[in-house]
């Protein structure tokens, strides 16, 4: 009876693992199968580097995603510019400076930020932050690169803070003690010993944050404004790849070029996040070995 239980338990977990892998492969396969046929009609270079996104234009639809790709990258880098100092700063504070009481409160609170649904962030950005940014800087619209970066940055902070804190707290105590014993000040110990020792974990957290920001859809749909242009300043609207798919998929004619082009964008996003995740794995694996 016991043996039967053991075996059936093994079988159940095996099936669960297999099912999730099969489902994932199925999703990847169908995204590629729907997207690849686009390139029979549109050249890959024309798709990637074309500057005009007019997928529904009557006579001559154009499927150039360059502006959208740049929009995605700018929003993501803007988010990291905000999230890296904030996230790393809070990680250093929690791990190195705060007392144990404060640490026990601060860490769960920061991690709680990650539990807020992205549509709530989006709503906040659209209804509160965008009008605020518009009046503060006296610009024509608040749905712009700056607002998008701030909101996306806030969403990425908990990822960077929590993972970097994990990395910092696994740095052996002896390293800190040796550094202090040699006469280094606490700040020198943190900046020259602890942070370099935790470097790979910190880089991993930033890469993961990058993946989170570039894949985020709801917030950019609500806050970025959606202009298919390359923003000339941080006060211009932009249109990232993800929001393009979300906004347009519902109304496309299934199977036509526009539909295929949205799947082709999905392939590109998949490749970007896949490569980032692979880098993250490599960086973190390296830390494990060292």
């Amino acid at each position: 009876m016991n043996d039967f239980k053991e075996k059936s338990f093994k079988l159940i977990t095996y099936i669960a693992a297999l099912a999730s892998i099969m489902l994932l492969l199925g999703i990847i396969f169908s995204v590629f199968a729907e997207g690849i046929p686009l390139f029979k009609t549109i050249k890959i270079a024309e798709f990637l580097f074309g500057r005009d996104w007019y997928p529904t234009h009557g006579e001559a639809p154009q499927f150039g995603i360059w502006n959208l790709l740049i929009g995605s990258l700018l929003a993501t880098f803007g988010a990291l510019v905000i999230a890296v100092p904030l996230g790393l700063g809070s990680a250093i504070f929690i791990s190195e400076i705060a007392g144990s009481r404060l640490r026990e409160i601060a860490k769960p609170v920061i991690e709680l930020l990650a539990a807020i649904p992205s549509v709530v962030y989006g709503l906040f950005g659209m209804a509160v932050l965008a009008p605020f940014v518009r009046t503060l800087f006296n610009v024509s619209t608040g749905l712009n690169l700056l607002s998008t970066s701030i909101i996306l940055g806030l969403m990425v902070v908990p990822i960077i803070a929590s993972m970097s804190e994990d990395a910092l707290s696994t740095v052996p105590k002896q390293l800190r003690e040796a550094s202090l014993a040699l006469g280094a000040t606490p700040w020198e110990t943190i900046s020259k010993v602890v942070v370099p020792a935790a470097r790979s974990g910190i880089v991993g957290s930033v890469l993961l944050g990058f993946g989170r920001a570039i894949g985020e859809t709801m917030v950019v749909l609500m806050v970025a404004g959606g202009s298919a242009q390359i923003p000339r300043s941080i006060f211009d609207s932009l249109r990232p790849l993800t929001s393009t798919i979300a906004a347009e998929m519902g109304e496309t004619v299934v199977g036509d070029l526009h539909y295929r082009s949205l799947f082709a964008i999905a392939i590109l996003l998949f490749i970007i996040t896949f490569v980032t995740n692979m880098f993250t794995e490599i960086v973190i694996l390296k830390r494990g070995k060292a």
Partner: protein, 270 residues
């Protein structure tokens, strides 16, 4: 062991009960988010008088609705635009024969910020604003303020109608903001002093100002008699002529009782 048997029995019985309950007649419709509020309210009202009938309504977009009709997963596809020839041929290839039923009228209103003094725009001016030729309100008799052009997504039914009727198929300037819903457009315009946008009449709130188009205010009368240029029809599509429950439902929606609901939702009756 007895505990398990009891649990198992309860499960089996509840499944049996569920499947019995689901045996009532079922109509499924999906499609345009513009038609969604009408379809939802109509379904609720109709089910009140026909308790044996279950009507489920989903959104997704006009294209999604037509695709679902084509695949046979819904009986009614809601659409805020006439079906496209490509979609008709795709339907025919699957043996589906889409039939159109006009269920309501709608007008697309041009809206600006409350503080904007502009009262009227011509179709030509609207076109020049959306294609980027006019960039400041002073060029159309307003204050000296850069225009923030707000549009719907290029794939939405509302955009298609606007693009055809106001822009004559011209491309919207790349700097235009493209927002995902009628509500998002109204919200953006209400909080942006230099903004111009457009939305279905049912979505207009007190937060924005509706401007006249070619000196005509969008309303029930002007949309019906054709003097307001940016008016459109809303459709339900069925496979072949609507029969049975589906036919009764659509027939009821087109009747005066159904059109009351159309009006309540802020749209214009037939």
């Amino acid at each position: 062991m007895r505990k398990y048997i009891i649990i198992l029995l309860t499960l089996v019985l509840s499944f049996a009960a569920l499947s019995l309950a689901a045996k009532g007649k079922q109509i499924t419709c999906s499609g345009s988010t513009t038609v969604l509020p009408i379809a939802q309210a109509a379904a609720e009202a109709y089910m009140d008088t026909h308790p044996d009938l279950n009507i489920s309504v989903r959104g997704g977009g006009s294209g999604v609705g037509v695709a679902a009709l084509q695949n046979g997963t819904v009986q009614i596809a809601n659409s805020s635009r006439p079906i496209k020839s490509k979609e008709i041929s795709a339907c025919k290839a699957k043996g589906v024969d889409p039939r159109a039923y006009v269920i309501a009228n709608d007008a697309i209103a041009i809206v600006v910020h409350k503080g904007n003094a502009v009262q009227n725009l011509s179709i030509k001016q609207i076109k020049d604003i959306y294609t980027g030729k006019i960039t400041n309100w002073k060029q159309v008799g307003g204050p000296s303020l850069p225009i923030v052009v707000v549009s719907r997504d290029v794939a939405s039914g509302t955009f298609e109608v606007f693009n055809e009727k106001a822009l004559g198929g011209a491309k919207v300037a790349a700097s235009a903001q493209l927002l995902a819903s009628n509500n998002a457009v109204v919200t953006a315009v209400s909080t942006t002093p230099g903004a111009i946008g457009y939305a279905g009449l049912g979505y207009i709130t007190d937060g924005v100002k509706v401007v006249k188009v070619e000196n005509v205010t969008p309303s029930e009368t002007t949309a019906k008699n054709g003097t307001y240029k940016l008016a459109r029809k809303l459709y339900m599509y069925t496979n072949g002529k609507a029969k049975g429950d589906v036919g009764n439902f659509i027939g009821w929606l087109q009747s005066p009782a159904g059109q009351e609901i159309v009006k309540q939702q802020g749209f214009i009756s037939l």
